[in-house]
Symmetry: D2
Amino acid sequence: MIIVLRPGATQADVDHIVERAQKLGLKPHISKGTQRTIIGLIGPEDALRAIPLEVFPGVENVIPVLAPYRLVSREFKKEDSEIAISANVTVGGKKITVIAGPCAIESEERLLEIGEKAKAAGATVLRGGAFKPRTSPYDFQGLGEKGLEILKRVSAQLGMPTVTEVMDPRDVGLVARCADILQIGARNMQNFNLLKEVGQTKKPILLKRGMSATIKEWLMSAEYILAEGNHNVILCERGIRTFETATRNTFDISAIPVVKHLAHLPIIADPSHAAGKYSYVPALAKAAVAAGCDGLIIETHTRPEEAASDGAQSLLPEKLTELLRELKTIAAAVGREL
Amino acid sequence: MIIVLRPGATQADVDHIVERAQKLGLKPHISKGTQRTIIGLIGPEDALRAIPLEVFPGVENVIPVLAPYRLVSREFKKEDSEIAISANVTVGGKKITVIAGPCAIESEERLLEIGEKAKAAGATVLRGGAFKPRTSPYDFQGLGEKGLEILKRVSAQLGMPTVTEVMDPRDVGLVARCADILQIGARNMQNFNLLKEVGQTKKPILLKRGMSATIKEWLMSAEYILAEGNHNVILCERGIRTFETATRNTFDISAIPVVKHLAHLPIIADPSHAAGKYSYVPALAKAAVAAGCDGLIIETHTRPEEAASDGAQSLLPEKLTELLRELKTIAAAVGREL
Amino acid sequence: MIIVLRPGATQADVDHIVERAQKLGLKPHISKGTQRTIIGLIGPEDALRAIPLEVFPGVENVIPVLAPYRLVSREFKKEDSEIAISANVTVGGKKITVIAGPCAIESEERLLEIGEKAKAAGATVLRGGAFKPRTSPYDFQGLGEKGLEILKRVSAQLGMPTVTEVMDPRDVGLVARCADILQIGARNMQNFNLLKEVGQTKKPILLKRGMSATIKEWLMSAEYILAEGNHNVILCERGIRTFETATRNTFDISAIPVVKHLAHLPIIADPSHAAGKYSYVPALAKAAVAAGCDGLIIETHTRPEEAASDGAQSLLPEKLTELLRELKTIAAAVGREL
Amino acid sequence: MIIVLRPGATQADVDHIVERAQKLGLKPHISKGTQRTIIGLIGPEDALRAIPLEVFPGVENVIPVLAPYRLVSREFKKEDSEIAISANVTVGGKKITVIAGPCAIESEERLLEIGEKAKAAGATVLRGGAFKPRTSPYDFQGLGEKGLEILKRVSAQLGMPTVTEVMDPRDVGLVARCADILQIGARNMQNFNLLKEVGQTKKPILLKRGMSATIKEWLMSAEYILAEGNHNVILCERGIRTFETATRNTFDISAIPVVKHLAHLPIIADPSHAAGKYSYVPALAKAAVAAGCDGLIIETHTRPEEAASDGAQSLLPEKLTELLRELKTIAAAVGREL
């Protein structure tokens, strides 16, 4: 922690800060410049974060030095984490994992139809929402528990592990019994009680980045889950909110190398929610693989005109098949497989 | 709903859309321009929102015409809503309500000390957090149930109604028993299950705007609560996330006249979270009153250096007293009282 | 400047940085913490900004301590600057200056008609654009030199000083002869050659904040003008670009207290461009005065339906009159006059 | 253009709009819904944009239907445009063009040294700034005319065409004589007089996207150049400003497919300015090629520690060589060459 003092700060101001810091077991380093005095505090920043140093007399600015996350950081663990999903599927290794399926589970027949096509195209994990967070209370909210049962049966039938969103801490047990990966949606990235709840399971967690979350905040949300004992976290970039309206969200492709630099957790990309339009999905998917992502989650539907939610961003199975074929060569070009 | 077709759209494309719209009970109006054909669909847009018209052949763009909210809109209710908090306190009438208190409840003595000063300064509602949403799992998370009990006792002692945050649907009953207003924090603005849960109480709800929520999305979140039967919603502007870092958030002062135009619900302002620095709080508070807000929620602390959370943005009681005095004349200048 | 080293940085890395810093006449302070080594460099940061310290081996992060502006800062000049516009008009003193007029100069008759009404309402400076920066090359681009002559004649007739935009360094001399204040528009805030050119005049400059400029960058642009010898700079907040679309821009009301804290230059507000809709202008104007602005620039038109540009955000003269009456009491409430 | 009326709009309001529209040669279509009346106006929207329909009585909202650009649009020209730079270099064809070189021209020796390495690595165009737009007036502003002469000599020596920024309309002639491509920087994207000036040359123009420009505004700026008769415009995505600070800008990878969909102009990517850190440049460059860009502009320096500007984001020649090798296979995977 570095404390920059105002030009007129007094020796008493310095002493007051030093005294408080020493009580917390920190070692102060004082540098008096021509224009400013600066106090560097050596030691655990957590202790300091609890004190509002900004209100101490004479203080102009407080600059943290250490990243606030630990368990997720590269410093804590140097090697890339690999998260086992099922006997055959892992996220974070050489192989890029493709998750596909409809936005919402609409019926058993439809999910099976889509899942079969997705599997044939090369996807190894099936997605499908039973609890849908919708901006409007009047829009389709998902089939709920019934949807989860469908998901479980289709998963067994196809031999594909599954991912589905959990929105409520009260549903964590139920969802954990029906799906292989629990998804925390963008709107719940800072629903800390939900994070703590899924942190107490041993399930792989797919943690989507919040719409306006910095990468640092996103990693802190992952830290919540790891801090509860569950280290099986997969990060998912799905676009952030900016002024641009040509796409639904602005896909932050840079998040991939930045996360890889800062953390050991795998990161996958959701080009469908980022684009909001199916025609832009292939370009974003290719970009994500080229940039080094560990997987993709792609909305697919056999009859987009009848999709209960997000039909506009769903790929037809034949488009998915074509895309995955192209992705194979890009994956190879960056030393990966798909 | 207006559907703009691509230049090359065929008559078959038009017929396909018209047929689908008619099945839903909508009346299509077709306008063929020199460059584009446009189809206007007259009737309830909700039915249409369920269909991904963007994927229909020939469609370039789909433009909704009606606002997606109903119960919160000025069209549903022309007059300003007034929300009764206690025998003496109402939000939304001529009188501007001042809510003050610490960010987090730290101890009974401290809350009482701050509450007394806040009351003396002119605040009529006491704030204090028992459940604190913190970016880091290692930061103080609030006193929880114990904090709620403190809040209840101090409230009784001072004769001030209270507001406190609820973060988890499982805590709604508990919080509703201990506080007069339930606050939904910015991070939970789209925690739809929590919204539904508080919608089933009769308690006044303080709904903070999400960090990156449009005004439309914010009103849709309010709609969730009203749709469950609870019309006692108070909106709270607390700043949005932008590229500017000189303040913690960018206080969107325009939200006040915009919300007043679109909705009948009262809107209050939180200058403390917007500014992030106590020295900017008075200017923002004055601006909010001048712009027509119905209340203010201001963080106050008697010993900011010891505050467990957000000390940097807390006003000392003497500053609060001074501010409320200045606000009185501004309130009068815009035909209000404080 | 503070340099944070990576965990694995070597003594050679430290020596390399120290050696380079000493050559530049800077004094290094080294603090070795448990997790990180930090080097504080004492001395003029300008010298350091020229070196890309981020690429030096072992460096993780470089944190500047001093603000990069000097002449505009409060440290350079403690008292508020007052900019004299004409014999009777000053910006930055106790009196809040009201600038009003049409977006674009359309004809002499119309400008005179609007100017008279604006003056009667209480405005003391007349605005009107002769060079209009328009997003589309097919939109009205202003009357140019002919417009400037109209402005000069109307100014003389009404006895009101004027402000108009200059977009091209080649036009600075011409505009300086015809108007009293030269406006640098938001799109040109970082047109550095234009800034240098107006910096070489002695004219008051109205420097609008760029659409996505931080306050720091805005002050740096002002610094360009002051560095050329022209200290007559008036800053103008006109809204920034964010994700919110309910208003044309997001009026950053916090910029007023922040600028007042950091710089000695006067700051005025442009509620018309921020709002984009006339009905929201009064609320924003009141907020700006309450927050401490030194002036307002308000678009006014007698026949908005016929305005060549930005009619939607123009106030009718009667609305302006009413607004200025209300603003008088708010100004008084914050110790100002209008 | 679609005009949505307020619930209480009268027949007189409708007539007033219809009359005005008909005078402009537009054909109105009126649709009366249960909640709203909508007027569709068929005909050239340009005529309409000049009228502030929003202020007409009874109007709630005005929705444009047509894109405001013409010459740059896919509807105007179906096939991809190819811009010839020199006898051997074209932008927009099958081959992906690599532009490399230092941010600023520092000396003839250094530019030659860097240019040779860049050429050896596979770059075919040399970049180097002589006029540098710097946030601070105290930072290195470029060698100016002397720099341009260096650029010209090094270009001749290496047989590489060049690109350099022009910031001032007065310098367009000079820069056009010394360089092969004129760059309009992000800060000048809406410097309309500069756009008009370069529009009057026949030179290829590299038009960088403004920091907070929507894709639509960017295309409108290109339209300014084409409207003056110069159709040789190359667009360049270089990152937009968002709340995220982990990278210097947020690289909007989606802009590539979106621009390809809307316009016929080539689009290249600038991963260096987007990332701001050299270590993130390769991932972004790969992503851009995979997403379909027509070229890359990459900052390269042989001695980043001594770079006069932007050293932190410059690649060493050996890193550039390695990157271009990897890009070759990605280019092949998406049907391109490099």
